[in-house]
Subunit: 264 residues, 2 copies
C-alpha cells in the first residue's frame, strides 16, 4: 500500500482554497499510485481553534464533507481529513474521517486528548476508543495530533488490531522530538505503521514544524519531511507488523491485569 | 545529583570477580563525587538465566548482599545491584535493589516482564507495581531491562511520583533502537530521568550491546556509552522533571478512566 501525506499551509477559514489544495494533492498522489492521502488536523478550515469556533458556519459542514468525498471519488484515492464535528448535545469536537476511493466513510474518530488552552476553549474531548477498520487489507485506525503522544492511545488502537495508524496533526515549531523520537517509539512499542501529517508555515500566529513522518513497526523512519510544504510518500509492507510482532511479542507480553491492579 | 553507570562484562558465576569489578567502579565513581552507581541486570552472578538457576548456591545470597552493602558503605556511595531472589513460595525472580551510601536498602523491585524462553525457564515474573522512594531528595524508582520497553511500566513509576528511574539491563547486540529511541521516548513521555546500565561483551554465548544511556525528562540524552566497558556519568538536575511537567503536562492529561473503559 502506498501512503501519501500532505504537508501544507492551510488558509484559516478559506475553505475553498484549502479544498483546492487537497484536490491538487489528491490528483498528484493518485497519479503516482497512492492508495490514500492523509491531510493535517483541521486542514480544510485551518488550525485556529478559537477563531474557527467563533466564525465557522457549521451549516456548511455537510456540504464540505460532500466536497471532500467528491475529491476522493473523482481521483479514485482514499482520503483522511479532519474537521470540527458537532455532537447531538451541541459540543464541538475535533474529528478525523477515513474515506475509501469511492468517497464512502469507513471510519471516524474524535480527538480524546486536547492540547493547550485554545483547543480546550473551543472543543470538548471525545471519549470513544479508536476503532479499527479493514482498509485495503490492512487493519487501520485513526488518532489526532496530541493523542499519539500518549502511549495509551496507540496501545488502544494496536490492542484493537490496528497495523496502520493515520494521524492528522498540527504540531508547533520546536517540538522536533515528537516526530523524531515519540512517533518512532510509538510505532516500535506497538509494532504498527504510523503516518503523521502536519501543517507547515504559519496560521493565526502559530508557526508549525512540518516534519511529517511515516514510521514502520520496527521503529524505523520510512519517510520524513522537512519544514516546507510537500507531498510525502511511503510504501507500507502489509506483512511488516505481523512479522515484528513475531520477533518481539510486545502486545502479547503486556500485563493488562497488573496494570489495572496498579491503578493505571 | 551525579549518577554513575557501570557498563561492564560479567563473568558468569564468578561472583568474586564480579564483586571486585563493582568495588573498583564504586571507588572510582565515589572519588569523582557520584551519588549512586547503577550496575547491570544480574551482574554479580552473570547474565545466564538457565545456568544461574541450575548452578547458583542460593545459600550464598545473604552473604553476597552483605558484601555489596559493604561496597556501598566503605566507598560512601549509593548502589543499584540486581540479583536472583527466592520468594517464600520458592519461586526465583530477577530483582534489583537500591542501597544508600551507608549500605542500607531503600528499595527493592522484582522484574515483571521476563524476556525470552531462557528467562522464563529460570524465573517467574514478579507482580508488584514499581515503588518510589526519596533518594537524596529525588523520588526514585527501579525497573529491570525488558520492563522499561513497556510504556505502562514507566507510567506506573511516574504516576507513583518517580522523577528518576534506575534500570539495570542485559540488552543484546542488534537492539540499538531500545536505548536510542524507546528509552528517550520513555523519559520524554513520562518526564523523568532514566539511567539504563547494560552489560558489554559476551556472556554464555550472548553478545551484549553496551550502549548504556541516561535520558532526561525532555527526551534528550544526558550520556551515552559505546560498546566497550566504561563508567558513564550524568548529572541529574533535581528540578528538571517538575519543569518539564509544567511545560507539557502529560501525566495530568492522561485519561486513566477512559483507558480502563477501553479495556487497557
Amino acid at each position: 500500500m502506498l501512503l501519501a501525506l500532505l504537508q501544507e499551509n492551510s488558509a484559516v477559514l478559506d475553505v475553498d482554497a484549502n479544498c483546492r489544495a487537497i484536490a491538487a494533492a489528491a490528483k498528484t498522489a493518485a497519479a503516482r499510485g497512492a492508495d490514500v492521502l492523509v491531510t493535517p488536523e483541521l486542514f480544510p478550515v485551518g488550525y485556529a481553534p478559537r477563531r474557527v469556533r467563533a466564525e465557522l458556519d457549521t451549516s456548511l459542514l455537510p456540504a464540505l464533507r460532500e466536497r471532500l468525498a467528491g475529491i476522493a471519488r473523482s481521483n479514485g484515492i482514499g482520503l483522511v481529513y479532519s474537521l470540527p464535528r458537532i455532537t447531538a448535545q451541541g459540543d464541538w469536537q475535533i474529528s478525523a474521517t477515513l474515506l475509501d476511493a469511492s468517497g464512502t466513510s469507513l471510519l471516524s474518530y474524535g480527538k480524546v486528548h486536547l492540547f493547550g488552552p485554545d483547543e480546550r476553549a473551543a472543543f470538548v474531548p471525545a471519549l470513544e476508543r479508536p476503532a479499527v477498520v479493514e482498509f485495503k487489507g490492512i487493519p487501520t485506525s485513526l488518532l489526532i495530533c496530541y493523542d499519539v503522544e500518549f502511549p495509551e492511545a496507540v496501545r488502544a488502537a494496536a490492542v484493537g488490531g490496528a497495523e496502520l495508524l493515520l494521524v492528522p496533526t498540527a504540531l508547533g515549531h520546536g517540538f522536533d522530538d515528537v516526530p523524531r523520537v515519540l512517533l518512532r517509539a510509538r510505532a516500535l512499542e506497538s509494532q504498527l505503521t504510523i503516518a503523521y501529517a502536519n501543517h507547515s508555515g504559519e496560521e493565526e500566529g502559530c508557526r508549525f514544524l512540518g516534519g511529517s513522518v511515516v514510521a514502520g513497526p520496527d521503529g524505523g523512519l520510512l519517510a520524513e519531511a522537512g519544514t516546507e510544504p510537500q507531498l510525502l510518500y511511503a510504501e507500507v509492507d502489509p506483512g511488516a507488523a505481523a512479522r515484528e510482532r513475531q520477533i518481539v511479542p510486545y502486545l502479547d507480553e503486556r500485563r493488562p491485569d497488573l496494570y489495572r491492579s496498579w491503578g493505571l
